[in-house]
Subunit: 348 residues, 2 copies
Amino acid sequence: MNNVKAIKWENDSLVLLDCTKLPIKEEYIICKNYTDLIDAINCLAVRGAPAIGIAAAYGVVLAAQEAQGKAGSKADHLGYINEAIQELAATRPTAVNLFWALDRIKEVLGKVSGASEEVIRDRLLKEAETMYAEDIACNMKIGENGNEVVPQGASILTHCNAGALATAAYGTALGVVRAAHDAGKDIHVFADETRPLLQGARLTAWEMTQEGIPCTLITDSMAGYVMKLGRVDLVITGADRITLNGDTANKIGTYSLAVLAKEHGIPFYIAAPLSTIDITLKSGEEIEIEERDKREVKCLFGVQTAPEAVNAFNPAFDVTPNEYITGIITEKGILRPPYEVSIGNLFR
Amino acid sequence: MNNVKAIKWENDSLVLLDCTKLPIKEEYIICKNYTDLIDAINCLAVRGAPAIGIAAAYGVVLAAQEAQGKAGSKADHLGYINEAIQELAATRPTAVNLFWALDRIKEVLGKVSGASEEVIRDRLLKEAETMYAEDIACNMKIGENGNEVVPQGASILTHCNAGALATAAYGTALGVVRAAHDAGKDIHVFADETRPLLQGARLTAWEMTQEGIPCTLITDSMAGYVMKLGRVDLVITGADRITLNGDTANKIGTYSLAVLAKEHGIPFYIAAPLSTIDITLKSGEEIEIEERDKREVKCLFGVQTAPEAVNAFNPAFDVTPNEYITGIITEKGILRPPYEVSIGNLFR
């Protein structure tokens, strides 16, 4: 079941479901230029590591279209596209899928750089569409693999949104939820609201209502209590970046959940495609943590919640050390500790 | 240092700083009748267990004033006051200080019930004022005692608001913060915003800016990460109810913090007056947890944050088991485990 599509290619444009407007309004942003997409990434209209990667691939197609028939020379034409790739790569320092997607597009560009502008554009579009289809197939495989560890009647706690709204469609953590639901397991989801930007309240809760999957919204602070009540059977979140040893960067608050899950003996899973794994990083200590505008903590939907004079801290992510992670659910199966070995084997 | 006064008795009225309007507006509610106070408690204009207790004592004075010269008989007069006591007691099931304060007022009422209506009113007012002054003295003593465990240059994480806005003045957890700050210890406070009602963002952050105490606001989900960064030296929260074995009911999210503090080897303290301890309850399992309106989780300041159709769970409190609590800072010193013994000794 998959009623939610956040990324579409229509009429030579990239059409994005504006995640900042959900769940109140279902509005779409039409990106005709790659800079429209950069704006959409910066304002989080499109978010989630896999979705950003795929959108960025389409963004390079937009740049190729823009450059078509306008550049003075072949070098100018390729220069414009490469400039777009660089600018797109600079939007989010933590999302490894973004670099992965752009590297893949760059490779294609390298191969066809001698061709006509039309051929280049068509070839880049074909690659973006392949990546889009592969992402959905990959997520469905993640769902299938993850479903193996979801008991009948399970209550699954998730954080942020690793759903259809964070990927091409179907989702990673919510892909597992969808697969378990479709398997008739009578599951229930606890959605952390995920302050400061409320991706859980706005996006996960919305996705679950769209799919008719029973879902209970809680504030982030309630997760420990709900676990203590015995109402959580497993925790599944997505990932922004996984290092060679299994340390995982994900939305701020994921680490707290992992500690709480450990204390309550609850399995804690990460669901993510292999493209999220960055084997150039040995451990989470090497992951750069993006800090966002302090006003996100002091405001909510533009409503001020704290005194103007107070300081705030707004790390976008945290790193969950591998010892808290029961398994990493990927399209190639569930990786188990020690992750240096299981991840190492996969990438050898 | 204590620039914040949330409860005042002026012109035969109870004047309350409206906590629901902070930090945007500093507005006062003038309660002329005890039902005005019930409304103020219900809408959380006055909140925090000790503050509610003291306000309720003044509320009985308001009832005595209302009944003055109006009741048909002595029995009617006392009946009106006793009805007010019952209604005030019903406002918050978890706040033991409320019952404690009303029991104390009832005892005074019992002693002077044969006196004139004026004498009754004056005697009740005197008792309420004594309780008010005692609460401040008690908090300053809590501050002094707690200051002993605050290292020079400490960074203290707190949850919700156990400050001047939760007591007559000075505060319990924030009383310790004030005492350490006044002792020149160069301390810093991390304030959890404390969803759903944001008492940390709205009240603690405001109190700290009023006092000039350095304070950094974080979302509740960031506490674990901030601890992992080594930026928290100790956690201090207030309490709504403490049982004989030291189990502590406090604002939802406190339990998660306690688990996180334990995982990071960070001392976790409760700061509360002895009136918060309910020795009739053996353990936290006997504490009734109030569930509040689900809309508090699905909205913020009236702004909808989640789809209308999604379910929500809104426990107002959680219970932190005694094994997570390093010490309970009271006006009689810091209680240490085993709490059955240290609390038992105090109440023997």
